[in-house]
């Protein structure tokens, strides 16, 4: 059912955990849906994502998309990172089963929320 890439990211997730003294935190999902993702980011002076980590409760697709998003976001500017879409995450994983596109592919939303959180803390600082 899952692509090799999904299984790889599920079995060997990249950047799992929490960034210490995070500059932005984004949490999406709902335990009652079976999916919760928490993305933490560290942003450098040039507004690039220096470090990003995830913690995820959810199915194989939820964990794999979280891992993939962190890999895609690392080193990107905030603007570039915000452009990461659900589709681009799924594509990078070699596709997701259709029923997994909806609830289990929230990682890019989590990243956007973390960036929003960073911005709300740092505007007109």
């Amino acid at each position: 059912m899952y692509s090799e890439k999904v299984m790889d990211h599920f079995q060997n997730p990249r950047n799992m955990g929490e960034v210490k003294d995070a500059d932005g935190v984004g949490e999406v999902g709902n335990p009652q849906c079976g999916d919760v993702m928490r993305i933490t980011i560290k942003v450098d002076d040039e507004e690039r994502i220096e470090d990003v980590k995830f913690k995820t409760l959810g199915c194989g697709a939820a964990i794999a998309t979280s891992s993939m998003v962190t890999e895609m976001a690392k080193g990107k500017t905030l603007g570039e990172a915000e452009d990461i879409s659900k589709k681009s995450v799924a594509d990078a994983l070699g596709g997701l089963p259709p029923q997994k596109m909806h609830c289990s592919n929230l990682a890019s939303d989590g990243l956007k929320k973390a960036i929003e959180d960073y911005r709300s803390r740092h505007t007109k600082g």
């Binding site: 009652q32 849906c33 194989g60």
Partner: protein, 413 residues
């Protein structure tokens, strides 16, 4: 390739090699249809009648009350729709319960759309139906009570004898879905006072695609399929001779092994339940502790989700760990956004239903398999919990048992 440990036997079992051996001649050597009169045909006819007798002996029925079908889904559909049709002029009310298999619930929903009324009785926290509630739900218009014997997901064994006493007293036809129990625990259609009983071969080491419906002599039921005159004109279609022979062999083997195997599996089941209980916190055993199928273990594990448990066990990362196959009641595998309706019927929170894992045993499983499975499960749970943003040790969610609102995924995105 490492040998895998198959612990999803409530889904299906490995065909017993003796069953396969009994089936083999009926493909290429003796392939005549039992409906014909020449020698190979009458040989096939004798073989299916012998199988019918063996199956009848296993469930305390008369051979003439056994009708071969394609499996439990067909038998359940036939029992419900066939009885509803035959008795439509008497009334249009059916009684079942909330924690039934889809092959019971969907035919009921189908009939509801056609104007029948269906009462879905609640189950208690262990999944049990109250026989008095069955009694209370019976109306003048009731034409069928249908109840599962052993629940496929949580293993709870219903008080079928007591329910059968109620239905017999009120003269209401009583159907029992015994797909999970036949061949594993004693099933006796006389003691159950049932009029109809569904079973399927592949749940007790027979082949897939063959089952039976027991129809008590005199029970009124319309055929589901219409065609030739097979099965006393009640179930047309050329007989699945190899399958029926396999079902007969599986029944014969089950009859010989049942007592010993039931005791052995019950011991193994309890060993697994205790081992898991002793090695993990924040978990909940789903289903009744003792009124339970000998091969069923079902736990909810707080803070993680079932599909990821199942996937982690089936694709171990360590080279010396065997793949282990189990199942889950998580929404992620149900094809809907909802987790198992059976777990929800127990009244447990939705998030705990997502985090359920079912281990179901067979005659092939050993103590070593149990030890390997528990060890692997403990490791997987620890790893997934370390990834979980919501798991907090000792949050006692498992103990609360309160219903929560449910997932509103559509609105969330």
């Amino acid at each position: 390739m490492k040998e895998a440990i198959f612990l999803d036997n409530a889904a299906t079992t490995r065909t017993d090699p003796e069953v396969l051996k009994a089936m083999e001649p009926w493909f290429c050597e003796k392939y005549g249809s039992p409906a014909t009169l020449y020698a190979p045909g009458s040989e096939a006819k004798q073989a299916i009648e012998a199988a019918r007798q063996r199956l009848a002996d296993l469930i305390g029925a008369d051979a003439k009350e056994i009708y071969f079908t394609s499996g439990a889904t067909e038998s359940n559909n036939w029992a419900i729709k066939g009885t509803a049709d035959a008795l439509a002029s008497t009334g249009r009310h059916i009684i079942t319960n909330e924690a039934e298999h889809h092959s019971i619930l969907m035919p009921c929903r189908f009939l509801e759309k056609k104007g029948w009324e269906v009462t879905y009785l609640p189950v208690d926290g262990d999944g049990l139906v109250d026989p008095e509630a069955v009694d209370g739900a019976i109306r003048d218009q009731t034409v069928l009570v249908t109840m599962v014997h052993g629940n496929h997901e949580i293993g709870t064994i219903q008080p079928i004898d007591e329910i059968g006493t109620v239905t017999r007293e009120k003269k209401i036809p009583f159907h029992v879905n015994a797909a999970q129990s036949v061949g594993h625990i004693p099933v006796d259609v006389q003691g159950m006072n049932c009029d109809l009983l569904s079973l399927t071969a592949h749940k007790f080491y027979g082949p897939k695609g063959v089952g039976a419906l027991y129809i008590r002599r005199g029970a009124r039921i319309t055929p589901l399929l219409h065609g030739g005159g097979q099965e006393r004109k009640r179930r047309p279609g050329t007989h699945n001779v190899p399958g029926i022979v396999g079902l007969g062999k599986a029944a014969e083997l089950a009859r010989g092994r049942l007592d010993k195997e039931m005791e052995r599996l019950t011991g193994l089941r309890d060993y697994i339940i205790d081992s898991i209980g002793n090695s993990m916190e924040d978990i909940r055993l789903n289903g009744h502790r003792s009124r339970r199928l000998p091969n069923n273990v079902n736990f909810s594990i707080e803070g993680i989700e079932g599909e990821s448990i199942m996937l982690s066990l089936s694709y171990p990362t360590s080279a010396d760990t065997k793949p282990i196959y189990v199942s889950t009641g998580s929404a992620c595998v149900s094809g809907t956004l909802e987790p198992s309706h059976i777990l929800l019927a127990l009244g447990i929170p939705v998030e705990l239903a997502h985090g359920s894992v079912r281990i179901s045993l067979s005659q092939d499983n050993t103590r070593e398999d149990a030890d390997n499975a528990v060890k692997a499960l403990v490791e997987v749970v620890e790893r997934l919990r370390s990834m979980s943003p919501v798991y907090k040790r000792g949050s006692k969610q498992c103990a609360s048992g309160s219903k929560s609102d449910g997932c509103d995924c559509e609105a969330a995105t």
